[in-house]
């Protein structure tokens, strides 16, 4: 039995109740082993609290003592429909890289907003980053409705304020749900105190989302390595889109050499095809590909290029200085690069333009810019093929930024 599973990231401003909501989801779906519940009760008591469901995810001693989430964590629960992987993300500005780490692994998102406090700095920043990362399935949980007397007008105010920041992400699969995570209202069970709300509960909304499937676009196969076995050289990698069979003709990029697939390989099996998303291996004629090359279908092949328009979010305390040497990493490609031009520099929370034609970029800021790579690379627009349209930038040994490829010139 192969149950479906969906990965959801929970984001929002600090203290708006993300960890409590996760605790509630677990508790109300019976996903919390009694032993785990006893441990949480015992630790809460030791710290002089009421039972704190947030401790399910906030497992570090520092997190529990200070009542905050420092790092992202992942855990699992099930409903009748499917299994869920819950990715908790911290709400403090200084832990933004941990929030992005969590969000980059998700297929859907749950944005938590405190009904009383309303939309705050990280609420807006997280909403914007979710849209930038390409997450299109979203539930907004307006939490702590019990502290605003379950007021419908307050709920409307909060959701309207947020709407402006969700323009890039809002779609048919956006739900706005009034809840109280602490009491359990509209999380797994419908609340008696919110009779004016007729939409789905949090769980019902989540169950309507779809897993993100690997793409059936043209064949794209970034090479991970070459393994000599039994006199042949197996070209190993993961199919990022499309399929491949023995006999298919391919292009090796960036060289542009044409080749033919002579076999599809799997240990202890004889497959005839590699599917989208599959880690596998093929053998090819003539060409000798290397790690970092990309094997692609002949129809509409991408162009290997050195100039890349992108939107980048900076995640290092040390700001970017224009033209400093960085490394560009996308799939298995890894090449030296520089930022050639920063067209617009934005505050990721207010989306106001800080600078045009900027020469620096600071922690948590976003920029529309132009990258110049030292060797040709193969990328696609993020909207067309996310797997080839997202990248990281490294300074020395450290990832300092993430980015997505915007519109490519033909």
């Amino acid at each position: 039995m192969n149950r479906e599973s969906l990965r959801i990231v929970i984001v929002g401003h600090v203290d708006h109740g993300k960890s409590t909501l996760i605790g509630r989801l677990f508790y109300d779906t019976g996903s919390l082993p009694p032993e785990k519940m006893r441990e949480i009760e015992r630790i809460s008591e030791d710290l002089g609290h009421d039972t704190e469901l947030a401790f399910l995810m906030d497992h570090l001693q520092e997190e529990r003592d200070q009542g905050i989430t420092i790092d992202t964590a992942q855990t699992f629960f099930k409903t009748a429909t499917r299994d869920y992987v819950i990715i908790d993300a911290p709400g403090h500005r200084q832990f933004l890289k941990n929030m992005i780490t969590g969000a980059s692994q998700a297929e859907a998102a749950l944005l938590v907003v405190d009904a009383e406090e309303g939309v705050r700095e990280q609420t807006r920043r997280h909403a914007y980053l979710l849209s930038l990362l390409g997450l299109r399935q979203l539930v907004v949980a307006v939490n702590k409705m019990d502290t605003v007397e379950f007021s419908e007008s307050r709920f409307r105010e909060v959701t309207e304020e947020l709407a402006a920041f969700l323009s890039g992400i809002a779609s048919a699969s956006t739900y706005m749900v009034p809840i109280s995570a602490r009491r359990g209202d509209n999380v797994a069970r419908r609340s008696q105190d919110l009779p004016w709300y007729e939409g789905p509960t949090i769980l019902e909304a989540l169950d309507r989302f779809q897993p993100v499937e690997p793409q059936l676009r043209p064949f794209r196969f970034p090479v991970q390595g070459i393994y000599p076995r039994d006199g042949t050289e197996i070209v190993a990698g993961r199919v990022e889109s499309g399929m491949v069979r023995s006999g298919d003709e391919l292009l090796v990029l960036p060289s542009g050499v044409r080749t033919t697939v002579t076999g599809v390989h799997e240990f202890l099996a004889t497959p005839t095809v590699l599917e989208p998303g599959q880690s596998g291996g093929i053998t090819v004629s003539i060409a000798k590909p290397a790690r970092g090359d990309m094997l692609v279908a002949l129809e509409n092949p991408p162009t290997a290029r050195t100039s890349i328009p992108a939107t980048v979010f900076w995640m290092s305390r040390q700001p970017l200085s224009l033209t400093e040497p960085l490394t560009f990493r996308c799939t298995t490609q890894e090449v030296p690069c520089r930022v050639a031009r920063i067209r617009r520099r934005l505050d990721s929370s207010t989306l106001t333009v800080i600078d045009e034609d900027a020469d620096t970029l600071a922690d948590t800021e976003v920029a529309e810019l132009e990258l110049e790579t030292g060797r040709p690379v193969v990328v696609e627009e993020h909207a067309f093929l996310p797997e080839l349209g997202r990248f990281v930038l490294e300074r020395g040994y450290d990832v300092v930024a993430g980015g997505i490829v915007t519109s490519l010139p033909a």
């Binding site: 192969n2 941990n98 780490t101 991970q224 599959q278």
Partner: protein, 267 residues
């Protein structure tokens, strides 16, 4: 692609990335179900020939069945098996009743691994930990740096976006690589079932008891169970409310023992 295949594909991708990025790489095999499953995936990733050494950290307190299993499959799968023991601590009589469990695990596991890594000059080691095993492991990255003292800086972990993992490590540091992080205990068993992976007999119920998680004899208790086959275990895990590591003594000593152990470099 079905869910198990997708999970396997992700693990194999990570194993291959580790091999491409770190020429001086090894894998840790505890002889338990997870690391045995991971070895199986390595065999699939590299078409039957695992191109790096396989390390077993032997505390001297393991079950006889585990040593038998290790030696049989090391031979059958042609593994380059290296056994690491903290001989000095073992000769000095270190055990779970000598000091605390924290000291014993640190001496016989973490320090045995430290000694071995120093001698082998490794840049990275692959470990079979999973997020659903323990709240502390739920915070881990796929590629997780450790400093010269093996310390895990859990308050300042590097960002890890999509499938881009931490780069080369600096001198003296090493990376822990966790290809099974996203798999659950149930998925491991479903995968064992699908692939027919050989697994230590200690996991299968005898006289109403079986081991859910394997470690050292003195610190490992079996749970009540009648699951005598892989199929039975899969069925059992779909409904159980008992935590996987409920039989592991080192998790119980204090709420943060696992955090302390891991901060010091424990697996």
């Amino acid at each position: 692609m079905d869910r198990l295949s997708a999970q396997e594909s992700k693990s194999i991708y990570i194993i291959r990335e580790a091999y491409a990025r770190f020429p001086k790489l090894a894998i840790l095999w505890s002889i338990g179900k997870d690391s045995t499953t991971m070895l199986w995936m390595c065999r699939k990733a590299f078409y039957g020939e695992i191109p790096f050494p396989v390390i077993h950290i032997d505390t001297g307190y393991k079950f006889p069945e585990m040593y038998e299993f290790r030696d049989r499959y090391a031979k059958e799968w042609g593994l380059n098996l290296i056994i690491g023991r903290n001989e000095e601590a073992i000769a000095g009589g270190m055990g779970p009743t000598v000091g605390t469990k924290l000291t014993c695990c640190t001496e016989l596991k973490t320090n045995a691994l430290k000694q071995l890594l120093a001698g082998m000059d490794l840049q990275a080691i692959i470990l079979g930990i999973r997020r659903d095993e323990h709240g502390i492991r739920a915070k881990e990255r796929y590629f997780s740096p450790r400093d010269e003292q093996f310390q895990w800086d859990y308050k300042n972990q590097p960002p890890e976006l999509w499938d881009q993992y931490k780069s080369t490590s600096e001198d003296g540091t090493h990376l822990r690589i966790h290809p099974l992080l996203h798999m659950t205990e149930l998925e491991i068993w479903e995968y064992v079932q699908r692939e027919r992976i050989p697994i230590s007999p200690l996991y299968f119920a005898r006289n109403g008891k079986r081991f859910r998680s394997l470690g050292c004899v003195p610190c490992c208790a079996p749970v009540d169970s009648t699951a005598a086959t892989v199929d039975d275990i899969v069925t059992e895990l779909r409904t159980t409310k008992v935590a996987e590591r409920s039989g592991r003594a080192q998790d119980k000593e204090d709420a943060y023992t696992m955090q302390k152990l891991r901060a010091l470099g424990y697996m």
